[in-house]
Every structure is written in C-alpha cells, then in structure tokens.
Amino acid sequence: MSSLQEKIDEAKKLSLQITKETEDDRLMTLSVGPQHPGSGHFRFTIKVDGDYIVFVDPDPGYVHRGHEKMCEYRNHFQNIPHLERPVIHDSCNITYAYSLAVEDLVGITVPRRGQFIRALASELSRLSYTLYWLAIYGIFLGHSTMFMWPAGDRELLIDLLERLSGARVTNAFNIPGGVRNDIPYNFKEKCLAQVNYFETRLKEYEDIFYNNPLLRQRTEGVGILTKEDAIKLGVTGSVLRASGVPFDVRKVEPYDVYDEIEFKVQYMKTCDSFARAYVPVLDMRESCHIIRQLLDKMPDSGDVREKLQFNIKSSPGETYKRVESGRGALGYHVVSDGTPRPYRVKASVGSFRNLLALPFLLTGSKLGDMPAIYWSLNYWPVEADR
C-alpha cells in the first residue's frame, strides 16, 4: 500500500518536474555575438519568451588587450599610440584625456595655440566617431542608405584629420605637452568649407532617417530610461543627455579653451531610443559651431607644443582628468610614483558605464527592439573592453 503511495508521489514529482522543464522550454536562449551581425566585438546572451526578452547577460571581453596593464610598462609618450587603439575613430579624445592627466602630474601648461589645435582635433575626431556610430545605427535598423551617407561624409572629416595629423584614424596627435605639429598651410579655409558643407548634410539625415515615420515607430517610446534610472545607473554622454540631464564635461568642467567657446548642452527629455539616437545629431551641430569658433579665435602664431623630454619624470601623486568624448565622459585616473612610467592607469570610459543600462533596458522589450536599444546606448565594445 505504502509502496503504491510512494509510486504515486514519485510520479507526481516527476510530472511536476516535467511541467517545470516544459515551462523552461518556453524560453529560447539566443547568443547575440561575437559573430552576430548585430553585436560588434561583444556578446550577450538573451533568453526570449516568444518575442519578449526576459533575460540578458552581457559578456564583454572579446577584444580586451590589457590596455591598463600595458601602460605600466611604457612611458607617457610611448603610451599614446596604444592608448588610442580602443577607439581609433575617436583617437584624439582618448589621448586628450591622458595628455591632460600627464600634464597635470608633470605640472606644465600647453601653449595657447596648441590648446586650440588639440580642441579642434578632438572636435573633428568626435564628429567622425559620431558619424561612424550613426552609420551603424542606420544599418542596425535596416536602413542601408543611412549606413552609406554618414560613412561617406565621414571622409570629409577624416580628410581634415589626415591633413592635420598625417594619419587617417590612428592620429597620435594629442600628446602630453600639446600637439605634434602645427596646422598645415591653407587648412583653415579647407576646414571651414568642409565643415560647413557637412552641416548641410545633417538636414538630409533628418529627412531620410529621423523624420521617417517607420523609424519613429520603431524608436519612439522604446527602451525608456527615466532620469532617475539614468542617474542611478551612472550612464553618461548622449544616453544621459537623452534622459534629461544636461551634463557635458566640456560645459561643466571646461578644460583647455572650452570656457571661451559658446555652445549649448543639447539634451532631450523623452528618454527613449529616439532621443538617444537624436542627441548625437544635435551634438554634431554644436560641434560644427564649436569648430568654427575655434578656427576664428585661434591665435595666428605661437608655439603648439611644450617641449618635454621623451622620458619625462612626473612628480609622485595621482590625478583624475576627464574629457567629453563621443561616448560621454572619458576619465583617466593616473597614479605616478616619480618614475617616467605611470604606476597605474585606470580609464573610466563611457561605453563601459553605459553597458550597465543594456540589461536594464533590454529586459522586457521585444526582440525586434534589440538593435534599436543596444546601439542607441552609444556603446563601443572595443573601448569597453580596453
């Protein structure tokens, strides 16, 4: 009798187990990346229930190169070429922050003309990064024209950077002490013409992409990151500004010449994917405005570089300097022990900080919203891995 009861209990347990397993079978695990066309050098595992994402686990690190460890074995100048590798499209900004930190440790100020030139390089670099990002946002949403136009127009800015620094993307231009070289002959007119032309192109982007009703349907009201959540998660850059916090390092903590430049911090209050995709375009307009002012206010002659020894020794201490990069605040925490090499370098990058919002936003959204939300976070996998 008892054995029969046991058997019944066992069967009940088993059936319970089976139903539980079948319930779990509702979920399908999809691996997005690293060979997925919609991921970049990055992987996240998602579980979908029908069309809804119920679980997200980001797994970065596919392009980790021990950037911070490498810095400890090289001197400040030798660090520059490999520091810019994580975001070669935005290389002038990522070296800008490091240069500011080293200058703070060494205790020098850059000549005024040098400050203008490196601000100019960083703005051009930011524009070119944002265009690259925008191109990928376009193709993620299936808009092939929006992939080609920014990718083509980026050539205008790459050409300027190439004239200025000699390399198209890996500029190694902003170094501790200023910039590598003065602007070439006839650069101002060329820069003004190309930037002005580029600004007219932004209207076309709005016509074909941002005001397209299909795009509006896909991005408006999708992936809402409220102001409170954005602050709590500590996101930065365009993601933060799209959530209604007017925070821009160039404005709140002006470095170099940015306190003489007039510009507005563009932000939106709708907090959705559309706002996150549109704020960079508003930023690009401001950047064009800034470039014109920089060219206008730049002193006609003067030094561009404070002469430093190759093996410059910095005083022991530590510093934390940040700039506004294409992806938000980019800070370098440099600890020095008095030797030519930094003792510890920590890069606090925008991508890594924005990554925290990815599981938060994706959970509960639809599978079709995945690219619209993921790439609107202004996330650059290579930079996040460092």
């Binding site: 004239r163 000699g166 390399a167 003065d182 650069f187 570089r305």
Partner: protein, 166 residues
C-alpha cells in the same frame, strides 16, 4: 498626414541624391593628394611639420646610429632594429642604421620625433603590401630610396555635392 509628409520628404531626399556626384574615387587610377612630402620633425623647435605618415625615409649622410628611434619604438611597436651597414660615414662610427619592419610599424611617427639629426622622416608612400612578411622588412638601403607618389585628387565641394576631383 504627418506620416505621409514624412515619407514624401524621405523620398524627395533619396531621389535628390540620384543626381549628386558620387563621392568615391577609383583608387588605383586616382590617388589622394597629400599636403606635404610626409611628416617631418624639427628638433630645434620641437614641433613637427604636417604631412602624411607613410613609410620612412632615412638619410644615410645624417644618421649617427644613436638608436634613439629604436628606443622610442621599443614600447610601441618594436619595429625598429639597428643593423650593421657596409657603408663608412664619418658621423656613424658604429656603422649601424635602423631597419624597419612594416609588419609591426603602427605609423605613429614618434621615431621621427625622437631623431635629433634630421635623419629620419616619413614620406607619402603608404602602399607597402607584399606577398611575404619578409618583404615588409625594409633595410637601411631600401629606406634611403625616395618614393615616387603622385596623387592628384582631393575633396572639392561643388553645386552637386562634395566629390573627389583634380
């Protein structure tokens, strides 16, 4: 109706581009024009002279074999090694000159910044592909050759958009 105007504007913007000039240029037939003769550095002033950072050019009559370029490269790409040359120069007692492995070089140009004797510059030549990795190693005598590069197109902005023209 907002939807309809959105579509119509997008259509207008798209079709407008059918008459714009194409932006790309035919690379092997046309090449980009660069500003100077390549990136150079003036050690007296301590600043560089703007130019493309292509492959290097080594002036044998100025190189002293001081190894500063190799030391600068040590932490970056480790592309420069000092090799023995057969030539006899008054300023180069040890007869060593840099040999550059372009399979490793990242074209940052910090070796040019490091040279205090106006001996190492960069040129406009960026077409360095080869079938074997060993062909990418340029000996001092190969580096002494001044490359020929004649690019003629550059970005022009006209009424039909930006394009690459002569």
């Amino acid at each position: 109706m907002n939807t309809a105007t959105g579509f119509i504007k997008a259509l207008e913007s798209g079709t407008k581009h059918l008459v714009l000039k194409r932006f790309t240029f035919r690379y092997p037939q046309e090449k980009l024009k660069f500003v100077g003769d390549g990136y150079q550095f003036d050690p007296k002033k301590g600043v560089g002279i703007a130019g493309t950072r292509g492959r290097h050019i080594l002036f044998h009559d100025k190189c002293t074999g001081c190894q500063l370029c190799a030391i600068a490269c040590e932490g970056i790409a480790e592309a420069i090694t000092m090799v023995k040359v057969d030539e006899q120069w008054k300023q180069n007692k040890k007869s060593i000159m840099p040999q550059i492995d372009y399979g490793k070089c990242v074209f940052c140009g910090l070796c040019v910044d490091a040279c205090p004797f106006y001996a190492l510059y960069m040129t406009n030549d960026y077409e360095l592909s080869s079938f074997t990795k060993s062909h990418l190693i340029y000996t001092p005598s190969q580096l002494a050759v001044k490359p020929k590069y004649d690019g003629e197109v550059e970005i022009k902005i006209g009424s039909r958009g930006a394009y690459h023209g002569r």
